[in-house]
Point group: C2
Chain length 292, copies 2
């Protein structure tokens, strides 16, 4: 398949590599053009604009930072819609607004272009290993066509409904982890303030109702007060904004999600946005004067 | 061993049965005396007061509702301390204040009575099956003596430090599950408001960072808007009060725990205190006008 990949960040670059490895004919474009070079060295063609990258492609894979970026890259001047022929397919692995996604998909549809929203979970490690969980939205026929691309880097690929459903599922994921990260952080801080023996405590907690991926995989960061990536706190905050917007549209206030979003705002303002999202433990730990 | 069991509620009654099954010589007492009858039918002796139950016992197991009840049963008029000989042991499986526990243990210590705080996790099902997780605090020698009792109904028994450490570990457990229950509830409400296909969504979410015991075991309650026990929401709210008190002593504000405690207050006031704690999903679901 001839695939254009637009957006070569922490997630997009390894996705492009997996597509090359799978034997696809890949053209890459990134706003900061030097990021195209390592892919070019692996055999990818380079393009100066999204429109140029999309010219002659069967499908375009996008992986950009937020909703305005996605709209610009797809429908702005020099965007994908100017280059991709009718009958082409856009597969978007960004995490963006579900509502905006449905709107963008409709606008692409007017030009005969299909779209699958396909936000991922599993972080940079999952992208490198090609073991991402992918939440998909779009028409059945477009989802079927996207399979050849998504299989190159995803290990669990679920079709959840029409355009926007994949983004909505990702929003649900980010909501569910928000309260879990925060309350595991509060619990760790309470345990350390009380001087409990942490390894024995974590083992006992993991055997019961407090068991979670976060407890198993991120409590160590919180105990050590050291937050290597993982998944950037600032990006999780962006994702909670998307979820809170969708909640507001459904008259659905989410008190815990709102509380965690405010904590993350405080941490971003204090310069911790590039740390792993487990850094939410900083707030209760600092309040209690706990040493790192 | 001659063991007195005081407090024959949902947890205490099956504990007493397991002790009888294990061959101990059991005497029971409950404030509402009729609850002693099924245990009497199994061979337990009955006593009119905690003091009388404790007379001649090697150890006393308590399982009562809250801190004032525990103080009354142990140190009040007609309490355990009036009957239990020096050298005796109190094993308390209630969930009560860690600080008060340390104080009660010290007062019992003045009379030569040892104490192990041993709050449990695993609910009524764990008590029936004898598979409870038990968080213990107390002197090493007292913990060693308590083993013969706790092994009768516990499958994971962890010694976490001096008197109060078991209660503190339980408080940490209740803090960690608070945010997880609430944010899984918010996520389920968002997913249902968006019309996502729930079984497929839950399967995809469970494969990644959102995985938790709560998601696996309680999302179904939230989807169905039906909250059979499990573990009573009103009791979880009581436990969060204990945790928030201990947090305040350590200058440790816990914003998410506080938010969930307020939600639970609202639910208790609305008559949902006897439902499973997963009923926290009622608030976002009702706001969004989701049908049951």
């Amino acid at each position: 398949m001839r695939v254009a990949v637009i957006g070569l960040g922490t997630m997009g670059a390894p996705m492009a590599r997996h597509l090359i490895d799978a034997g696809h004919q890949v053209t890459v474009h990134n706003r900061t053009r030097e990021r195209e070079e390592p892919l070019s060295a692996l055999g990818a063609a380079r393009a100066a604009t999204p429109a140029e990258a999309a010219k002659g492609a069967d499908a375009v894979l996008t992986c950009v930072s937020d909703t305005p970026d996605l709209e610009h890259v797809l429908l702005g001047p020099g965007g994908v819609a100017e280059g991709l022929a009718s009958g082409g397919l856009v597969v978007d692995c960004s995490t963006v607004s579900p509502s905006a996604t449905a709107d963008i998909a409709a606008r692409l549809g007017e030009r005969g272009i299909g779209m699958v929203d396909a936000p991922v979970s599993g972080g940079s490690e999952g992208a490198e290993k090609g073991t991402l969980t992918i939440f998909c939205g779009g028409a059945d026929s477009d989802f079927a066509r996207a399979g050849e691309i998504l299989n190159a880097f995803g290990s669990r690929i679920t079709h959840l409904g029409p355009s926007g459903a994949g983004q909505m599922a990702k929003a649900v994921n980010q909501v569910m982890i928000a309260g879990t990260y925060a309350s595991v952080g509060e619990g760790i801080a309470l345990a350390q303030a009380a001087g409990l023996p942490i390894p024995e405590l974590l083992e006992a907690l993991s055997a019961g109702a407090a068991a979670s991926w976060v407890l198993t995989n991120r409590a160590g960061n919180m105990v050590d007060d050291s937050y290597p990536l993982g998944f950037k706190l600032a990006l999780h905050r962006k994702d909670l904004g998307i979820a809170l917007d969708e909640g507001a549209r459904a008259s659905l206030p989410m008190a815990v999600t709102q509380t965690v979003a405010e904590q993350e705002d405080e941490l971003v303002a204090a310069g911790h946005g590039d740390e792993d999202v487990s850094a939410v433990a900083r707030l209760p730990k600092r309040s209690a004067g706990l040493p790192a």
